[in-house]
Symmetry: C2
Subunit: 151 residues, 2 copies
C-alpha cells in the first residue's frame, strides 16, 4: 500500500468507483473536481502497489477560521474495509493540518450513517446534533475534535 | 443595496431561492453549507435594504496553487439581472484575492451556458475547452484571468 497526496487525475479514478463503493447510491455530485484541484496539500489517497484505489480523504483548512480544518469526504474500497485505512488517513490529516496551524478538526454526517458516527467516536470526536443543519428536515451529526498538540 | 461578506446563516437564504433562480433546476447539491462556513473571507452577498437577496458569489483561494483563486458559484436574483451585480461581485473578488497574494482567477461552466460564457468574456477571461473535464462526456468551458496588478 502507498499513501500520497491526491492529484487532479485521481478525480477520474475516484468518480469511477464512488457510486459502487456506496452500494449504488448516487454520490458523485458531492465530490466535484474542484476538491481534487485546489485542496491537494490536505487530501490523500491510498493505493495498492498495482494502483488499485484503496481509500481516499478530501479535506481542507478553513479560510474563515484558519485554526480549523474540515474533512469533506472519505471513502474506503469495500475490499479494504476494517483494515484501519480510514484511521490512517485521519491521522495523516491531523498531523498535516497541525503543521498548518490548526487545532480543531470538524466534519459532518447524516444521522442514518451509524458506521460513520461510531468511527468518529472511536477517533475521539465529540458529537452534537445539527437539527435542520442543511435545510429544513435536513439534520446532520456534527463532529469536532481538538487536535492541539499536548503540552 | 448593501454588499458584505457571506455568513453561515446566508446558506439558508440562498438555498431557499436557488432552484427558483435557475428556472426550477435542482441546484442545491452544488452548494453545500461548507462553502458558507469556510470561505467567508472571499464570498460575498448583495442585498436590498430590506434584506431581500439580490446576488451572491462563492469563491476561495486554492490551497494547492496559492497564487490562484477559484469562483465556484455565482447567482443573481432574476429581478435584479442586467444591473451589473455579477460584475460588481467579480471585481470585489478580484481585489480581495489580489490582497491575499493571487494573480490568477479560474472558474468553469457548462458548454450550454452561453450567458455565462459571454459574461466571462466581457470580464476579460480567456476561454478553453475542457473535454471530458468532469468525467466521460462531461465537457466544461474553462475560464482563466490574469489579475496581477499592472506595473
Amino acid at each position: 500500500m502507498e499513501t500520497r497526496n491526491i492529484t487532479e487525475v485521481d478525480y477520474f479514478k475516484v468518480i469511477d468507483v464512488l457510486n459502487d463503493w456506496w452500494g449504488g447510491r448516487e454520490m458523485k455530485h458531492l465530490l466535484p473536481r474542484l476538491f481534487f484541484e485546489h485542496f491537494q496539500s490536505t487530501s490523500f489517497i491510498i493505493e495498492e502497489n498495482n494502483n488499485n484505489l484503496a481509500a481516499f480523504l478530501i479535506g481542507f483548512v478553513s479560510q474563515t477560521h484558519t485554526n480549523e480544518a474540515y474533512i469533506h469526504f472519505v471513502g474506503v474500497n469495500p475490499k479494504f474495509r476494517n483494515k484501519g485505512l480510514a484511521k490512517e488517513l485521519y491521522k495523516l490529516f491531523f498531523t498535516t493540518v497541525q503543521e498548518l496551524g490548526c487545532n480543531t478538526v470538524r466534519c459532518i454526517t447524516s444521522p442514518e450513517n451509524k458506521m460513520s458516527i461510531s468511527f468518529h467516536k472511536s477517533m475521539g470526536f465529540s458529537i452534537s446534533n445539527g437539527t435542520n443543519y442543511a435545510g429544513l428536515g435536513q439534520d446532520r451529526i456534527l463532529f469536532i475534535k481538538d487536535i492541539a498538540p499536548k503540552k
